[in-house]
């Protein structure tokens, strides 16, 4: 007899339906066709053992399994459960007329336990799109799948539960998640807050500007000045995730298998801080069976690169294209996959190899050439994509000991959200531009052109600090964001003045005097 079971496989961050056809008839051979990879071939052993452990007699007959579509390589152990159920359905151990409206995924262990699989959320999304009414998934993935409403999700612990469920001998209840309620319940729940940071008001302000305009930011400061501490708190002042963004970010983490047991929607913006020994593939994604990298895991959140110049140049240069495109395409001979990668880059570095160049009290022991060489490790084109470059000084003792409470994340965030709303209004007509950081030169001239006094101030600053031409656009862009925070329709001289202070590295004299 023939049975058909529906499962799904993941391609990029989207799932596609895989039909598992099983025929049981006269003979002894066990055959899997339809481009299975090693893990799928090995499922034979797991399926046989799991069925034998489940009080069901394993059908000692010829079993032929076909995985359709036949031209796509089927990877991973997620087909164990649907294949086992397919065999039992073909052998009439399971009779359920609704199998065709049910999507099944799960890995089996030898004792019949159903183990979690990657990519359950995109599968659930696909299941709903294709009109499936039920999903049987590992219990550990149940809440993840249930994020997609309007589909009955059953989380099963073992094969017996799945068999009983399909045969109607089960009291197992579907897992229900009120996605909107959960989302709003956890959206503003942070364990960190900017009020923990003592002093550093100017750097906090720079962060606020960066968040408000979606600008990338580079922090330059000696060790122990609080670079990492503040970067970690950045998600708390970014605008709250929209439900759509949350779903997209969760999907990526689901595909990468980074969601824990029983997790639902990610309600906070991700904060990823890869170590500087990270490989290019681990950073941007890839591999023989492509997996999302750190930049995609940081989608809609923050990618923090500590000790920026320590990253190998090859690793940093692969960042350039995704920073522009906000997506990374991993290409293979037969196919290519897209992973979204819209992140805010926060980089931090020491000002020089010894760390004390420009320090108020300690002496830098580096030769000027050393400082210059250290700076040169970051290429111009990459630096060009970082709008704010901020020097950060160690906190003075009086400020550390101060009990005065600094401004909370909630207050800063309110201003950021306001500035973002202004930008949404402004770029409504512009395609592919959502925040000031994405403005082209032409748009800069249209939206961020200062008055004559502002222009004059900018000219003076550029001459005095010997600034490069590319600094010009950057300053205007940041000045626009500062004006938005200020609630000002035009870019005023004081906005230009503040923006100039965020271009420390553009001063042609950096690393030459001191």
């Amino acid at each position: 007899m023939l049975s058909k079971i529906y499962s799904a496989a993941v391609h990029g961050i989207e799932a596609f339906i895989v039909t598992i056809e099983t025929v049981v008839d006269k003979g002894t051979l066990f055959t899997i066709v339809g481009l299975p990879d090693t893990a799928v071939k090995e499922s034979y052993t797991r399926i046989v053992s799991a069925i034998k452990e489940s009080r069901v007699v394993y059908p000692h007959r010829r079993i032929t399994i076909n995985l359709a579509p036949a031209d796509v390589k089927k990877e991973g152990a997620g087909f164990d459960l649907p294949m086992a159920l397919g065999i039992l359905a073909a052998n009439e151990n399971i009779t359920n007329p609704e199998l065709a409206s049910c999507m099944i995924a799960g890995e089996l262990s030898l004792d019949g336990t159903v183990l979690p699989v990657k990519g359950v959320l995109p599968m659930a999304v696909k299941a709903r799109q294709n009109g499936f009414r039920k999903m049987i998934v590992p219990a550990a993935n149940a809440t993840e799948a249930a994020v997609v409403n309007d589909i009955e999700v059953y989380g099963v612990e073992n094969l017996i539960q799945a068999i009983d469920l399909l045969n109607g001998n089960s009291t197992l209840q579907p897992t229900v998640v009120d996605t909107r309620r959960e989302f709003h319940l956890h959206a503003d729940n942070f364990d960190l807050d900017f009020s923990d940071v003592k002093g550093q008001e100017s750097v906090k302000r720079a962060f606020e500007v960066a968040c408000a305009g979606g600008h990338n930011i580079l922090l330059i400061g000696p060790p122990g000045s609080g670079k990492s501490m503040m970067a970690k708190r950045l998600p708390t002042i970014m605008p709250p995730l929209s439900l759509h963004e949350a779903l997209e970010t969760t999907k990526i983490h689901s595909v990468a298998g980074k969601l824990g047991r029983g997790s639902m929607l990610m309600t906070r913006r991700p904060f990823r801080a890869p170590h500087h020994t990270v490989s290019p593939v681990a950073l941007v994604g890839g591999g023989t069976s492509p997996q999302p990298g750190e930049i995609s895991l940081a989608h809609n959140g923050v990618l923090f690169l500590d000790e920026f110049p320590e990253f190998p140049r090859t690793v940093l240069e692969v960042l350039r294209q995704p920073i522009e495109d906000r997506v990374i395409t991993v290409s293979r001979a037969k196919y290519s996959v897209d992973y979204p990668a819209s992140f805010m880059l926060v980089a931090s570095m020491n000002p020089c190899p010894c760390g004390y160049y420009g320090h108020p009290t300690r002496r830098c022991t580096c030769a000027p050439a050393q400082v210059q060489r250290y700076m040169n490790r970051i290429s111009g084109p990459l630096l060009d994509r970082i709008d704010l470059q901020v020097e950060i000084q160690p906190v003075a003792f009086a400020e550390i000991a101060s009990t005065a409470r600094s401004e909370s994340s909630t207050d800063i965030r309110a201003r950021v959200v306001k500035a973002r709303t202004v930008q949404q209004e402004r770029f409504r007509e512009e395609k592919g531009v959502y925040c000031n950081a994405q403005m082209s030169s032409r748009q800069l001239r249209r939206y961020a052109w200062p008055d004559s006094e502002g222009l004059e101030r900018l000219r003076m600053a550029m001459e005095r600090h010997n600034m490069s031409a590319r600094a010009f656009d950057r300053i205007l862009r940041v000045a626009r964001t500062i004006a938005d925070l200020d609630g000002s329709p035009g870019v005023l001289p004081r906005h230009i003045a503040e923006a100039i202070t965020y271009r420390n590295l553009d001063r042609g004299t950096y690393g030459q005097i001191f």
């Binding site: 008839d25 006269k26 003979g27 002894t28 051979l29 066990f30 055959t31 899997i32 066709v33 299975p36 071939k41 034979y44 046989v48 059908p59 000692h60 007959r61 010829r62």
Partner: protein
């Protein structure tokens, strides 16, 4: 002319006879002895039937009792048995379940011990 039959060969034949008797005594119906699959020189020693199950038996005779009969059946032999059994079952009108058994007989015709391993192995995976 018959080939000269050495001692081991004779013991093998006797062992198959003993195994068949043993299976009959257990209530199985012995359907075939030394069933040949196609043009192959290899054969299935005994095919027995019990209810809905067709049992394919490989008999291993030993003069000592040290070696495990299961170890004497290698993956090539298993593959052959599976293909042969598959062909045999397809010839049948009725739909049977399969089972692969190994019977190990060690000692001498006068003094032997018999070990029956039911459901000794499953067919290997055929992935194309």
């Amino acid at each position: 002319m018959d080939k000269p039959r050495n001692q081991a060969y004779e013991w093998g034949e006797q062992a198959e006879e003993l195994a068949a008797d043993y299976l009959r005594a257990k209530g199985y119906t012995v359907r075939e002895r030394r069933w040949r699959y196609g043009a192959s020189k290899k054969e299935i020693d005994i095919i027995a039937q019990q209810d809905d199950t067709m049992i394919f038996v490989e008999v291993k005779a030993r003069t000592d009792s040290d070696t495990d009969p299961l170890e004497a059946v290698d993956s090539r032999k298993m593959r052959f048995l599976c293909f042969a059994a598959d062909a045999y079952l397809n010839e049948q009108e009725h739909d049977y379940f399969y089972r692969f058994d190994i019977i190990g007989i060690s000692g001498t015709p006068a003094d032997y011990s018999l070990r029956h391993i039911e459901d000794a192995f499953l067919p290997p995976l055929m992935a194309r």
